[in-house]
């Protein structure tokens, strides 16, 4: 019937406004990384139960990719962050 995600830019929205792209944890390897790293990045997903990081694209809203941290069993949402902000923050560290 509905799940709600609170977009940091747009506010609380139903899941129909989003397109879920899957796990947000894997990071794109450098072009020179080993085959194994690329193989893992493109094909291998852990599919854990519980607390996960996912990309949610706010297609019908701000069109930003959001990193949603939530429990895939209870749908409890722990945090929603703009992916680019997270990326930049990671680069600053």
């Amino acid at each position: 019937m509905a799940s709600l995600i609170t977009c940091p830019h747009c506010g609380t929205r139903p899941k129909e406004e989003f397109s879920i792209r899957g796990a947000a944890a894997p990071k794109r390897p450098s072009p020179t990384a080993k085959d194994e790293a690329w193989h893992r990045y493109v094909y291998v997903r852990d599919n854990p139960k519980g607390r996960i990081l996912e990309y949610w694209h706010h297609v019908a809203g701000c069109r930003r990719f959001l990193v949603v941290e939530r429990d895939n069993l209870t749908h409890e949402v722990f945090g929603v962050t703009d992916a680019a902000e997270l990326e930049r923050a990671g680069a600053d560290e």
Binding site: A2, H9, R13, P14, E17, A60, G61, C62, R63
Partner: protein, 182 residues
């Protein structure tokens, strides 16, 4: 060969026949609004937003953290283009033909829109002047509160017919009428 080109509104076919007097709940279609996408470049987001909010004759509509629509019903596209291109750090795209602008108003407007959007439009939550991109009748729209009981809805042109028909369907209970504003 000189050609005089006729501009045609996408809802021309949907609003035909005799115009009835508008009811208290009314959907008004603006024939030739000026609508630009404004994109702020890296690091310029705040400055561009500020310039937009201070600009005369255009109303800014929030789309995303570095994207807005600049809407004007009073001045022409060239004026708006000139004004917007003077904003440092912004890129602009004329979308005046790519969007349809409707204004829905009346005492039952929130009840009608409750059937069209999932967003809470209570005046304490969605204040006058507030705008956001959201799903409206299954299409991506920008919805703004332009009055106590008035909302502006901007939808992509190709979806306009569909959204318009759906809005009218949702307004049946409340006697929603429709017509071009001009």
């Amino acid at each position: 060969m000189s050609i005089n080109l006729l501009h045609r509104h996408v809802l021309e076919d949907h609003i035909s026949g005799f115009e009835t007097d508008p009811n208290p709940n009314h959907l008004s279609v603006i024939r030739r609004p000026v609508i630009f996408s404004v994109l702020a470049h890296a690091g310029q987001e705040t400055a561009v937003a500020e310039a937009l909010w201070n600009a005369e004759d255009v109303a800014p509509r929030f789309c995303g953290p570095s994207e807005w629509l600049a809407v004007s019903r009073t001045v022409g596209a060239e004026t708006v283009a000139g004004m917007l291109s003077a904003i440092a750090g912004a890129s602009v795209v004329d979308q005046s033909d790519g969007r349809a602008l409707m204004e829905i108003s009346g005492p039952s407007v929130r009840k009608i829109l409750g059937r069209c959007v999932a967003v809470d439009l209570h005046p304490e939550v969605f204040e006058q002047g507030h705008s956001a991109a959201m799903l409206c009748c299954h299409a991506t729209a920008n919805v703004a509160r332009t009055g106590a009981d008035t909302f502006e809805i901007i939808v992509p042109r190709s979806f306009a017919g569909s959204v318009f028909e759906e809005l009218m369907e949702m307004g049946r209970e409340h006697g929603l009428t429709r017509g071009f504003a001009d």
